[in-house]
Amino acid sequence: MEPMILEYTVSADDFSGAGEASGDVKKTLKSLGFPPEVIRRVSVAMYEAEINMVIHARGGKITVEISPDEIRVCCEDVGPGIPDIDLAMQEGWSTASDKVRGLGFGAGMGLPNIKKYTDYLDIKTVVGQGTTLTMSVAV
């Protein structure tokens, strides 16, 4: 069976709109009858990635591939890149601005949360060019 493909453009202009794509994926997975725990893991990981794209990378593109046995999410941005991935994966380490922290994010839990909720995570990043994050959750 061919996977179902969903594509989203994440805009960095509107912080309040961040999460729109993840919410849509959550609704779609619900309507397809995936288990609640799988839906939650996918939507939380994707939401963290979406927030990251908005606060760090001026937005980007998200592609979601839905197969019966796996949900794969690919997030591509042309932002500043991540200079040190090991540091970025540490809980509590963050480069977010005070403004972002005031909004309840940027506490250095984004990437660790994504790792926690997914079965597979790959980060390709080039400083000054952008980051592509691929993650999947097995059903």
Partner: protein, 115 residues
């Protein structure tokens, strides 16, 4: 604990979810940091927070949080109320502070997800 009971115990003002007051919440979580909510909150929880912006509603949506309580008299914006209505999330606001609100709910039998 039923959402109705939370609302009564905290003497809260209800903004959405009049028809959902008989729904059960299984545990409580209190936090102003949405990243921590995404890391630690449990299913079907009530979230008490002093943070007021649309991402609180979206965080609740992702975590299947059924009820939000804004503490210290903070009020949701129209945009937040609309988002919550569309997602069937109950919103209420209490004048009580965070620590007091948590204590009242805990005394009444509501537990944290890690207890």
């Amino acid at each position: 604990m039923k959402i109705r009971e939370i609302s009564q115990l905290l003497d809260a003002k209800l903004y959405t979810g009049e028809e959902m007051l008989d729904r059960e919440v299984h545990n409580g979580f209190s936090c102003d940091l949405m990243s921590d909510v995404l890391a630690y909150a449990e299913n079907e929880a009530v979230l008490l927070t002093g943070l007021v912006n649309p991402q609180v509603i979206r965080t609740a949506e992702m975590m299947d949080i059924v009820c939000l309580v804004f503490v210290r008299g903070k009020e949701p914006t129209e945009a937040m109320i609309k988002l919550a209505e569309e997602r069937s999330i109950v919103i209420m606001s209490t004048d009580k502070r965070m620590f007091t609100s948590c204590g009242i709910l805990h005394d009444a039998g509501l537990k944290s997800g890690d207890e």
